[in-house]
């Protein structure tokens, strides 16, 4: 079914179910309890996880399959965001045209940048993509201000034409919607102290990310995906086998650019403000990190990486000294203070430090990322019955 093998289909269905049930699964702790801060089941965070999962899955098509490390993919995020906001301004607050345009624009710019960058490989390719991204960023910040809003960013305003929408009755900017379904619409379910929020925006992001995941899965299993892996392996042999590696690479680059464009579009759809800082090299670095952390070249890795990083970012940023003292209060006072002092730089504002450390640790000790880590653990406990489920979850991702 769906052109997938039985194993892949099961895998996809599990991903779909997890996505649908995420608002419940990610909210395991009762509201108001001490652990409630570890809940992740609120719309804003889940949206971000889904969006970055799309971005990372797309990036993995390029980096994971072909081994070409782009350091400029954030440019496509930015372009997608701007495309989205312009559609919201000019056409309609319905996100569909924006999403389509964002994807196409991401692809178009990827075609342009890829055409030039792919004439070089290795570190030169990385630097060329980085140069293009920085160039886009600088231009968005300065000379293109009429289009990008420059430093202030770009967002829908009251006076925008929005030719497809009826004039707003009450002098406010209409809500971002999908055929009338507001992205902010949330159904709250109170169940034994746990509040579950089912948000329309999240389900749009989540279902789209499952769909994009499905497309990527097909691509991984296709002859095209096989050719991309062959490029990573031995481009020389591939050429002598009668295949032209350049258009294959360019296609992979454009496809991953379209994923990024779509992610950028969604970002702007959920929070209709597009800023140039989304294009900076830090943002490009972040997606590399997600893919590496999860597991390069695996199916599930980038999703895990995106989820892990966005979740930790959210949690770590919320932890302050007060929380730390609470945690360590079981220790003697001097030890409590010492522990707080040690941990303090890594939490709150220091999240990026943790991120950097994590990044280094993964590259040094676990180049295969979380997926490889899971497999290693799985191998260790293979004889235990628990291992069976784990192995099943990781094998389709190979």
């Amino acid at each position: 079914m769906l052109g997938l093998g039985k194993k892949d289909l099961t895998f996809l269905l599990i991903v779909l179910l997890l996505t649908l049930a995420a608002p419940i699964l990610l909210n395991p702790f009762a509201e108001g309890s001490a652990m409630a801060q570890f809940n992740a089941g609120y719309p804003d965070l889940m949206q971000r996880i889904a969006i970055f999962a799309i971005f990372a899955v797309g990036f993995n098509i390029l980096f994971g399959l072909t081994g070409y490390l782009s350091f400029g993919h954030a440019a496509f995020i930015g372009i997608g965001s701007y495309a989205m906001v312009w559609m919201l301004k000019l056409l309609t607050m319905n996100i569909l045209p924006g999403l389509i345009l964002a994807t196409l624009m991401g692809g178009a710019f990827a075609l342009l940048i890829g055409f030039v960058s792919l004439r070089r490989s290795g570190i030169y390719f990385s630097i060329l993509t980085l140069a293009f991204a920085q160039m886009s960023f600088n231009m968005a910040y300065s000379v293109l201000t009429p289009i990008t809003g420059g430093e202030n960013g770009l967002g829908p305003a009251l006076g925008d034409p929005r030719v497809l929408d009826a004039a707003a009755a009450n002098g406010t900017i209409p809500e971002v919607n999908l055929f009338g379904l507001s992205m902010r619409a949330t159904y709250e379910l109170d169940l034994a102290g746990r509040v579950f929020q089912f948000n329309a925006g999240y389900y749009v992001c989540g279902l789209l990310s499952v769909f994009m995941f499905y497309l990527a899965l097909r691509l991984f299993r296709s002859p095209f995906g096989m050719m991309l892996r062959a490029i990573k392996c031995n481009q020389h042999r591939l050429n002598y086998t009668g295949l032209h590696s350049r258009p294959y690479m360019l296609s992979a680059f454009v496809i991953s650019g379209m994923y990024a464009g779509l992610a950028g579009g969604l970002m702007a759809a959920m929070d209709p403000l597009a800023g140039a800082d989304r294009m900076q090299w830090q943002a490009s670095g972040e997606v590399v990190l997600m893919v590496i952390l999860g597991g390069v070249g695996t199916m599930l890795g980038p999703v895990l990486g995106a989820g892990f990083i966005k979740y930790c970012e959210n949690i770590f940023s919320k932890i302050n000294d007060h929380v730390l003292h609470e945690w360590f209060s079981i220790f003697p006072k001097w030890l409590e203070n010492l522990l707080v002092t040690i941990v303090h730089p890594f939490v709150g504002q220091g999240w990026h430090l943790t991120l950097g450390v994590l990044f280094m640790l993964v590259v040094i000790f676990l180049p295969g990322g979380l997926i490889e880590g899971g497999q290693r653990i799985g191998r260790l406990i293979r004889r235990k019955p628990d291992a069976k489920g784990k192995a099943a979850a990781t094998t389709p991702a190979e």
Binding site: L69, V116, A131, I292, L353, L355, V363
Partner: protein, 343 residues
Amino acid sequence: MDALILQTLNGLDKGSAYALIALGLTLIFGTLGVVNFAHGTLFMIGAFCAVTLQRLLSLSQVTIDPTKKDFLGNALKVKTPYIEAWFGKDAGAAIVNWSVPLSILLAIPVMLVVGFVMERGLIKHFYKRPHADQILVTFGLAIVLQEVIKYYFGANPIPTAAPTDFAGSIDFGVWMGFPPNDIIYPYWRMVYFLFSVVVIGAVFAFLQFTTFGMVVRAGMADRETVGLLGINIDRRFTIMFGIAAVVAGTAGAMYTPINSPAFTMGMNFLVLSFVVVVVGGMGSLPGAVLSGFLLGILESYASMNWIKDVIPGIDQIIIYVIAIIVLLTRPRGLMGRKGVMED
């Protein structure tokens, strides 16, 4: 004409910084074969050595002067920097005033230690790993170092003054027969340019005229053969890493009066320095220096108003445009060697 000279001069100081960072990057790449994304961070750490020294020097002891009263009628508290207490008022004040150049003395040992620790502790393990892994791990390291600096010094730029002796500007145009106030150039920028010339000259002389340098150059050209001669090339390469770190660090320390140091400066310079290295030719030391100055000056030209009128925004992107053109037409860069980083 005078505008052109002015812009050339203006480009020199940025070009100097590019050249110094690119030189270190190339040294590390040429010797260790490692693409070091944390090199800009070394520049930044050097800059914060200057900040640290300035802060250390302004540490004061508080004494109570019973002979004077403050406006509340209490005995006046007088802050005297320790340095003035120890060396006398004039000498102490002079030392504080000269804290930026003096910070080189602090930066050298600090950078050597940082460099050695980095190389022995981390980069050593990545010689045999793919370049992508090297990029990633040094990128991670750059984030970590950057965040550590941010943690201790805050996110805002910290103004760091040059010695008052160099505070003014020189009327450069008068020397060349232009009317006064036509070409004005701050003294400190000139100092920075001269400093970079000296450092670059020293590095080249070191490589050219010492036995150590000769071995390193031989090792850059053909590591295996040199290894077969029974020369411990790795240890020398470690030292070269330290030297590259010192070059970047002192460059950063001296740059502080031109641009107030902030924790992001390293990465901003790094991206540009990589472009510089690629334009100059990966692995070519003269190429790195040449293209550093070239791009610095071209960037400065591009910020001239009449050029900006013709091509808006060109000053923001000129370096990248040049890099893209060079990479496409001369993939090895201006002075690159064959076979470097060509997979």
